[in-house]
Symmetry: C2
Subunit: 424 residues, 2 copies
């Protein structure tokens, strides 16, 4: 197969006709496949059903002497705080264990900043004339929707293979209206990149003009390798403290992709000073989070070593799915020179950069053939990808058989849209 | 025993000496008793341990064909929405089933009004020059803390045996800066009063100056009779709609005192128009709440009839506790004419109005004798009871034996503080 850019107009026409015929054939099957969201598949849910079978005995109603079934312990069961501290390599007293979703904790943090301000805020953010926020792109649509919802002007920071472009970040934080940055530092959403040590150190070493500049450190995939061993990762809380910025970072994590999406346990981790400040605000809204579910997780996951064993079982399910898509892209698309992609070893996504100007069309073709994908542009603030190129592929939810069909269709659509763009 | 106000100075001195001696005798025991919060006792928690034993089978991972273990259904499992609609006598599509605490949903509603405004808000509330809120007193301290946290000027509305003084409410809502009212309409916290039908109709019929005036209808004790049969209660959503105010009320409820405090399921209920508006805002902060726990509750509680049977079992535990305190008050305090109290048939509290000016002193004496009570003033906005009189007694958490001791001490303290006030 030749690179499409080298094809003559004649050859392109022929290739388009062949590809279109293949596409129409699969379209006729009336498939209904979903590669849109980072959802674990059924096999993964079944994998952790032990958390249902292995239920609390009366002795286990107590945790550190406290009845997990009653009100109390706003910051979470001490044992749950220890578990997350173990996973994140921070201290238990830096951990607040919340409800079923880290997204809620992140939303809540921005909300509190908006209504009340954060620890070092001169005033609540709603009283600031202008609010700006740094968004590494491509990034996570749900992050961007939060800052969009609060009226931030979102500034795009290009992602590099080492993480956000730190020259751009260092320049941007000189503006006092820039209040923070979204980061998924390990297996970034969607690129699957691990921030380099240098990137992380430069982030921890930032000197932002805003005294309440906040790094929203969404460590969603902290132990989520699907290929190879667990990759140790620096504790951002220690690093920020080391560089004199102890209160500049708030870290988030959850068990949504360890146990159950939507029925797991989430946490945030931060400096002790931030913890005292945030706990005071949180005490207005909650008496306590679901400590029974926290206890289930403590009993089921035990500690980091045991949790990593479970992650290897998830990996055994996930790796073939990622390989299926990556191998199909390598085989069907790489020779054509019409798209680039990362080859992640963890996380939940494959980020494909289609030929500029073709992402939207590609996904329209996918949809028409029964394959739902994350909408084009979703990985950019306001849903607007300036190059109309980035496509987030979420290979985790479909079965391997479905995935194989969906990936095949996706490749056909990449080809059709590229040929259309080149002219047919 | 004579009324204290009729005692001579001599008699008061003698009575004080006797009472003080009794008090010092119990104080010497070094007790540690808690009547401070509306927490279910251990016996109640054990009562519902079936929710742990009766776990999900693989067939039960599905609810209405949907896997409860994965993301989705922001507004909650349809079956959970039906269950709460059954309990509250409203429609399933009016119900949003959330996480573990209705307090969070209430906080979240005020937060969203503050940051974004409600359905009929001309602007977000943080842009209003002045915010006022109606607080029936005595009331629930955690309600008042929410509106205090957002800077509302809180206007006290006296409670009557029929609910809030509606003349005062109707007058107050003519001020456009008055944005809402806290209500616990059934077994109000702390009075244990059921709002009369007339009060409820007048509330539903209000014509507030603020287009976004909101009745925060915290139906926390909707099925929480501890004496007698379930008392049917009007559906406030229908009533408000009937009077042309369909969007004026948001109702809240939870299973915190049906299954487990802090590990139950909460909901709000509102008009379909409010639901559409709030769901849009909620979709930014959450993908879904814990549907596994919702499913546990659906399977365990089944429907209203079955849930009411469970509530009768709670009642069998609670009634003796309430009677213990009420009988002690009747016997020890009523003849002295130094306090008044309601005799609730449901809810979680007994509201005692001590001799004006003595609440704080009474509770200091209790504390010194090892009995923790809700702080004086907690039932008023800003924690300030203008008469220093109201005391919230929470008899549910201690065992009956502990409660009997605690109530005895409480009565001694009421007597001592009254005598001190009268002069000894």
């Amino acid at each position: 197969m030749k690179e499409y850019s080298l094809l003559s107009a004649e050859e392109r026409k022929a290739e388009y006709a062949r590809t279109r015929a293949e596409y129409e054939a699969v379209r006729a099957k009336g498939l209904d496949l979903d590669m849109s969201r980072g959802k674990p598949g059924k096999e993964q849910l079944d994998l952790v059903s032990g958390i249902f079978q292995r239920m609390l005995t009366p002795e286990e109603y107590l945790s550190d002497g406290e009845d997990v079934r009653n009100y109390g312990e706003l910051a979470g069961l001490p044992a749950a705080r220890r578990l997350f501290a173990d996973l994140l390599d921070c201290k238990p007293e830096q951990v607040f264990v919340g409800g079923n979703a880290s997204l809620q904790l992140m939303y809540d943090t921005i909300t509190k900043a908006y209504s009340h301000g954060l620890l070092h805020s001169p005033r609540p953010w709603h009283q600031e004339g202008m609010l700006r926020w740094l968004c590494p792109v491509p990034g996570y649509d749900r992050h961007f929707r939060i800052t969009a919802d609060y009226g931030f002007e979102m500034i795009q920071i290009p992602m590099t293979p080492d993480g956000p472009d730190m020259d751009a970040v260092e320049e941007a934080v000189r503006d006092p209206s820039v209040k923070g940055i979204w980061c998924v530092p390990k297996y970034s959403n969607p690129d699957g990149i691990i921030y380099s040590e240098e990137t992380i150190r430069r982030l921890a070493f930032l000197s932002p003009a805003a005294p309440d500049f906040t790094i929203m450190w969404d460590n969603a995939y902290c132990i989520h390798e699907f290929e190879g061993d667990y990759v140790p990762f620096p504790d951002m809380l220690s690093l920020c403290a080391e560089y004199g910025n102890p209160d500049m970072v708030i870290e988030f994590a959850s068990t949504s992709k360890i146990t159950l999406p939507g029925a797991g346990v989430s946490c945030f981790a931060c400096s002790e000073a931030n913890m005292a400040y945030l706990k005071r605000l949180l005490s207005i809204q909650a008496i306590s989070f679901d400590k029974v579910n926290q206890q289930r997780h403590v009993l089921y996951l035990k500690d980091k070593a045991h949790t990593l064993e479970l992650m290897q079982k998830h990996a055994a399910i996930l790796a073939p799915k990622f390989h299926c898509v990556l191998e199909m892209l390598d085989r069907e698309i790489a020779p054509l020179g019409i798209a680039q992609w990362q080859k992640p070893k963890g996380g939940y996504f494959i980020s494909v950069n289609a030929m500029p100007g073709t992402a939207r069309r590609t996904l329209k073709l996918c949809q028409d053939a029964g394959v739902t994908m994350t909408p084009a542009g979703a990985t950019f603030p306001y849903g607007l990808d300036p190059h109309n190129s980035n496509i987030r592929v979420a290979p985790t939810y479909p079965s391997l058989e479905e995935l194989s069909q969906a990936a095949e269709i996706f490749c056909l659509c990449l080809r059709l849209s590229a040929l259309e763009k080149l002219g047919v």
